[in-house]
């Protein structure tokens, strides 16, 4: 009897330990498998097209839109920002390197020295400050235009977030993961509820996209964000995070807060291997 109890207890502990040490790699495999089983006909890269991968009619409308995409003008504005020298004569290339196509695939990444997740937007403003320029706003406007240009230049390159074997990096990943799966707000809804368990379903008139592939196309041009008083349509991933949190009636965190940076770390890692196709168009 004693042996039996010991055996059961060891088995229980082993199971708990396995669950506790389920690392990023295992998470990614399970995440991928979930979507492959849920949408067996969809190719991996097509998940980057969001709801347009799930609905044939919406896809047709989107393909029409892509013939003269509304984000084109902002890609050009971003190029101008990239090429315009700062007052000190330097430019963004002095911070990021001359090849604009290599910038976007580096983000987000773990900065060991700073002990935090670094995002593209964070480094854009860091570069501006270092060169005596005024930083951009975090969610829309110039920061999204420059992001759109860098995304456009990186089209076809694959997302490749690395989670280093560093306890702090793993903690940031785990925090991002927890944020993603935690229900929040008055509506008691998690990111995962819409984008893992119910993609393809509708919320009012909107078709829910899969979490797999979402970070590939940010910054995006959203028709909703082009309405009067909302901006020119362009917005960053953190702007969208804030919008989602607001919609479930949770108080949104600030763009580039630790919470959203960690979320971006986890969220983008889950789409590793997918092609960057930013900027995207979304309703």
């Amino acid at each position: 009897m004693k042996k039996m109890l010991t055996l059961l207890l060891s088995a229980g502990l082993a199971a708990t330990a396995t669950q506790a040490i389920s690392g990023p790699k295992e998470d990614l495999e399970k995440f991928r498998t979930h979507f492959e089983q849920r949408f067996p006909g969809i190719q991996l890269d097509d998940f980057g097209n969001g709801p347009y991968a799930l609905d044939a009619n919406k896809r047709l409308q989107w393909e029409d839109m892509e013939e003269f995409p509304p984000y084109d003008v902002y890609v050009d504005k971003g190029r101008e920002i990239w090429e315009t020298p700062f007052k000190n004569g330097k430019s963004f290339a002095s911070c990021f390197g001359k090849d604009a196509s290599k910038v976007r695939p580096k983000y987000p990444h773990w900065d060991k020295a700073a002990g935090k997740v670094v995002t593209l937007e964070g480094d854009i403003n860091k570069c501006l400050k270092a060169n005596g320029e005024k930083p951009f706003g975090w969610k829309k406007g110039k920061i999204a235009h420059l992001g759109a240009y860098l995304g456009y230049e990186a089209r076809g390159k694959k997302l490749n977030v690395v989670i280093p074997n560093d306890p702090k990096a793993l903690q940031a990943y785990e925090e991002g993961k927890r944020f993603f799966y935690a229900k929040r707000g008055q509506l008691n809804v998690a990111c995962a509820d819409c984008h893992v368990y119910y993609p393809g379903q509708r919320v009012r008139g909107q078709l829910l996209s899969t979490a797999l592939g979402q970070p590939t196309h940010f910054p995006v041009f959203r028709a909703k964000w082009a309405k009067k008083g909302k901006g020119d349509g362009m917005g960053t991933l953190h702007r969208r995070y804030g919008g989602c949190n607001k919609q479930v009636r949770a108080r949104p965190f600030k763009a580039q807060s630790k919470e959203y940076r960690n979320l971006e770390f986890f969220h983008t890692y889950m789409s590793n291997g997918l092609e960057i196709n930013a900027p995207g168009y979304r309703e």
Binding site: R178, N245, R249
Partner: protein, 109 residues
């Protein structure tokens, strides 16, 4: 019997007086101040675990229950302020409980 009637009359008189005496504004104010203190503490507690809900005090919320309660009290409408603080208290406590319950959230697959 006479005594009984007198006692009954006296009781009626006391109850009547109580019912017709309006609550002093000062006591409403005290109630409001206590409720505000409790509500603010509950909101801070919810915020400390990232569990604050949108409509309590977020600047872009159309409702902003907590600032609206403070405004109502400033205008002397303590009844409205107390009603709003009740909502704040409930939402803050619920947000905290939700965040605690989701502390170990993870995938269901």
């Amino acid at each position: 019997m006479k005594k009984l009637i007198a006692a009954f009359g006296l009781a009626l008189l006391i109850t009547g007086c109580n019912a017709t005496t309006p609550e002093k504004p000062a006591s409403k104010q005290a109630q409001y101040e206590a409720a505000l203190k409790n509500a603010q503490a509950a909101v801070d507690k919810a915020a400390s675990v990232g569990g604050e809900w949108r409509d309590i005090r977020w600047k872009k919320s159309k409702k902003k229950y907590l600032p609206s309660a403070i405004e109502a009290a400033k205008a002397g409408d303590y009844d409205k302020a107390l009603k709003l603080l009740e909502i704040v208290q409930f939402q803050a406590e619920a947000g905290y409980k939700q965040a605690m319950a989701q502390k170990n959230a993870g995938p269901r697959f």
